[in-house]
Amino acid sequence: MRIQVILYGTLRNGFPDHDPTRGFEVELAGGSSVGDLIDHLEIPRSKLGLVSVGGVLVKPQAKLKNRDCVRVFQPIAGG
């Protein structure tokens, strides 16, 4: 299945093909989860913050479906 991925903060630095607004697309096996996607992108868990699908926050075990748009954020601090 095709998944659209948009990375935020400095996460996108390792992905030269990342479009500022549309991100990029990846091909994943059917039934893959958010966690599988993160592993596929080789984003270390220490750099992983919020993940949302369709504007709703999801957990790493959430299943993805074809054409989902996944947004990945990094941890934040401060105020």
């Binding site: 500022p20 220490s46 990094q74 601090a77």
Partner: protein, 575 residues
């Protein structure tokens, strides 16, 4: 450890050693304890009985990085309670390098008279006739003062909003490039400065009279370890330099906690147009600066210089709370408009947050349409012009709500919320409601503790654990604001070793043992002084509540309301 008292009635300036009762205090700790001791709680905030305190943090001016924080305190004309608003730039370090622990501005000059307080390289202070500077906006004022006294000065000043004594007036101070773009925004302290007849404080840079350190070798070694911890943290070493605090826009919007169109929704559909990522890309494309040093001794460089399409300077620094207040909160998705509004607020001397929320209330009431950036700019210009509406706007969101007979006003104790909707992050409901400062995010930022994805353990839609989280964070922050460590350099505090290093440095400066219990005690002492002042000023537990809209209107997309009960709110300060 000098204590300068400047009487604006008699023009007398006295220099004494720091009174024993304030020993060991700095920043917010010093200003709040002093105000509670010396200012009549029921006084008119704009009258001669109020005092305006400028106090660098206890560690400002030492070899420790990121400690150029100046606490400014007084009774607030916006909240009617005690206020401390702290600001970066360079002045805190300069005052500390002159050995000055606090400036205490007392009395008031006759109406219409303004003065410049000038402090030279030897720490000698004088009041100079400020008539030639009357009415100037801050950028023009700073240029003129630099021409008169030389560039090597930090300038802390007010614009027209402060002269008009408006309740959302800020005190601006110069950054590392000498621009008046750093704001002690909250609480209307610019109005207090205006009421005293003080237009600017000009402080010589490069003083050599800093308080001595009892154990300089240990201090320096420990400061180095602390700096290494800040540098080792991805957020302060990588994310903030590249994107600044604006990185929060997309994340908080994704969490449905980004108050939009006067907090009618928790998500702004055009957030990506005003995000930190878009801002950084825009700045880079136009030849501005993303990684920019705003404050003396900073190793994070979270600031930026926003430029226009031709590469010309617009403002510094565009930050998360301003992008929210002038963006999502008023339904505006144009970064150039946000940058212009940020500049105007700095130039006129207005808090960007209170002003943005005041605009949002006006738009929500139908005075102008949401998203109309040009109207927003025109309304803010009215503040400087001194029109009737301009004065209402400059008095903040509650004044606008009253004028337009509009109930949806997101303020607590008269001061607006920040860029985290309390319905989507219940911990922030507790901080907003109970902080002695009124609606305030830095007083007890518990966003990370409310989001599991950021390592938090609390359910952000539930009341469980929120009171304790907010209480502990408020105590901690009262101590942080007293030692003067920048909020973002707290990443160096996040490890057990990190906070031990801070205790070690306090000990190395004072020569007296300082540990975890003392840190807790310092935070409690500050909060107790602030609560006591507010109680004597007439505040009761009924003031520790959010406006009705947060309890009654479910916030899309999660459709939740604030669930912290009044009884729970009243247990926050059970100490």
């Amino acid at each position: 450890m000098l204590f300068l008292k400047i009487n604006m009635n008699s023009k007398n300036i006295s220099v004494e050693d720091l009174p024993q009762e304030y020993a060991g205090l700095g920043g917010r700790g010093l200003s709040s304890v002093l105000i509670n001791n010396e200012v009549p709680a029921t006084c008119d905030p704009l009258g001669p009985e109020n005092k305006l305190i400028f106090a660098p943090g206890y560690l400002s001016g030492t070899p420790l990085i990121n400690t150029s924080r100046l606490s400014i305190g007084a009774k607030s004309p916006l909240t009617g309670g005690i206020k401390e608003s702290n600001v970066g730039g360079t002045v805190a370090v300069d005052l500390a390098h002159l050995g000055i622990t606090a400036l205490v501005i007392e009395g008031a000059a006759p109406a219409g008279e303004y003065y410049i307080l000038k402090i030279d390289i030897n720490g000698a202070a004088e009041l100079i006739d400020g008539d030639p500077y009357k009415g100037l906006r801050t950028y023009a004022l700073v240029e003129k003062l630099k021409q008169a006294y030389g560039a090597k000065h930090s300038i802390t000043c007010i614009g027209p909003a402060g002269e008009f004594k408006l309740a959302a007036a800020s005190i601006q101070t110069t950054d590392a490039d000498g621009r008046p773009c750093r704001a002690a925004g909250r609480g209307g302290l610019g109005a207090v400065m205006g009421s005293k007849g003080l237009k600017a404080v000009v402080v010589a840079q490069g003083g050599k009279r800093a308080d001595s350190l009892e154990d300089a070798a240990t201090f320096k070694e420990t400061a180095k370890a602390y700096a290494q911890a800040v540098k080792a943290n991805a957020f302060s070493a990588e994310v903030l330099p590249e994107l600044g605090t604006a990185v929060l826009v997309e994340a908080i919007n994704a969490a449905g906690a980004f108050p939009t169109r006067n907090a009618r929704s928790g998500q702004f559909e055009n957030a990506s147009k005003i995000s930190g990522e878009t801002m950084a890309a825009t700045i880079k494309e136009r030849g501005g600066k993303t990684t920019h040093k705003g404050c003396a001794g900073c190793i994070i460089n979270c600031s930026n210089e926003y430029v226009d399409k031709a590469g010309g300077y617009v403002t510094s620094s565009l930050e998360y709370e301003t992008i929210w207040a002038m963006g999502g909160m008023i339904g505006n998705d144009d970064l150039d408009v946000i940058a212009r509004l940020d500049f105007l607020c700095d130039d006129i001397g207005l808090d960007t947050m209170s002003t943005g929320v005041a605009l949002a209330v006006a738009m929500d009431a139908g005075y102008r349409p949401f998203g109309d950036g040009q109207s927003a700019i025109a309304m803010v210009e009215e503040v400087a012009e001194g029109t009737a509406f301009g004065k209402i706007l400059g008095n903040g969101p509650a004044a606008v709500g009253k004028h337009l007979n509009h109930e949806r006003v997101p303020v607590i104790k008269g001061q607006s919320i920040a860029a985290y909707d309390p319905r989507a992050i219940q911990g922030m409901a507790v901080t907003y409601a109970t902080s002695p400062m009124g609606g305030d995010h830095t007083a007890g930022w518990v966003v990370d503790q409310n989001l599991k994805e950021f390592g938090g353990t609390l359910d952000r839609f539930s009341a469980a654990g929120q009171v304790e989280a907010s209480r502990n964070t408020q105590i901690h922050m009262a101590a942080v604001d007293s030692v003067g460590i920048c909020d973002f350099a707290q990443t160096g505090l996040a490890t057990p070793e990190g906070i031990q290093n801070v205790f070690k440095m306090i000990t190395a400066k004072s020569g007296k043992p300082f540990g975890e219990d003392d840190w807790q005690e310092l935070g409690l002492k500050v909060l107790k002084a602030e609560r006591e002042f507010n109680r004597r000023a007439g505040f009761t537990s009924r003031d520790d509540r959010l406006p009705k809209m947060f309890y009654e209107e479910p916030l899309p997309p999660h459709n939740k309301v604030v669930v912290i009960s009044d009884e729970e709110m009243d247990t926050v300060f059970d100490f």
